[in-house]
Symmetry: C2
Subunit: 156 residues, 2 copies
Amino acid sequence: MSVSTSGGAQQGPVGHGAVMEHLDEAECLRLISPGGVGRLAYNGRYGLTVIPVNYKLHRGAILFRTGQDSPTGEDLETGIAHAEYQVAFEIDAINPAAREGWSVLIHGPAHAMTTDAERAEVEESGVEPWGPGPKERAIRITPARITGRRIRRPGE
Amino acid sequence: MSVSTSGGAQQGPVGHGAVMEHLDEAECLRLISPGGVGRLAYNGRYGLTVIPVNYKLHRGAILFRTGQDSPTGEDLETGIAHAEYQVAFEIDAINPAAREGWSVLIHGPAHAMTTDAERAEVEESGVEPWGPGPKERAIRITPARITGRRIRRPGE
């Protein structure tokens, strides 16, 4: 099982009645546009970390909130002005009964939204965290690369 | 939002009616024991990669299948005998309506199961891939670290 790095939709070989399609950027953005829960992945102090966060797609970017002093908030601080962590963000929808589903993978820099204009943008997006405690840090991932795929079983 | 690195269950501070619990290893293993879809994460040729795969928990380890010549299968080959990629595997269950859920994160080496005894173990586990094409490569992740957390809203 692999992640597409290609552009336009194409079909993979059929096996076990399954078809894999690579999704283009427009289709990926359409699929993730409702927002919801995605999985932030990054190389942090405890190694490779993957955690679910509630996100919004706002002006073509992924927005989510975290705590200023949380491990994630601190891990995403490079400590160097204008230097930003490269992270991945995965969103999927799986139908276990049908064994079908799609997944989208976004790569890009994790930008801490700290200016007044950025804080206004966070409010505008309406993104809310699920976890307890103050989540005063907002992070924006501007996609540098968007890939996706879908597995279907048209013959079943 | 952070991943627990602690052992026993403990409760975080309450905010927005939410409570975060850190889950101990036994509880994490109980939650993921039914198998299903988890997310494999690793640093591959296209950077940090996160993809859903169908897994089984078998003898305390994560088992899944991939294609011999797929990007994932090739990425997980170190090319060095007995050297194994360190990967992460994330499993979660989210209830968007209730804004509750749990997630488990496993770290460990990705071992290609190639001996006769290992092939027998793969058959015994009954793990099946969802994607099309032959999935003749089986991978076992033996957990080196298991962490997890749960967000609940008992007051709502």
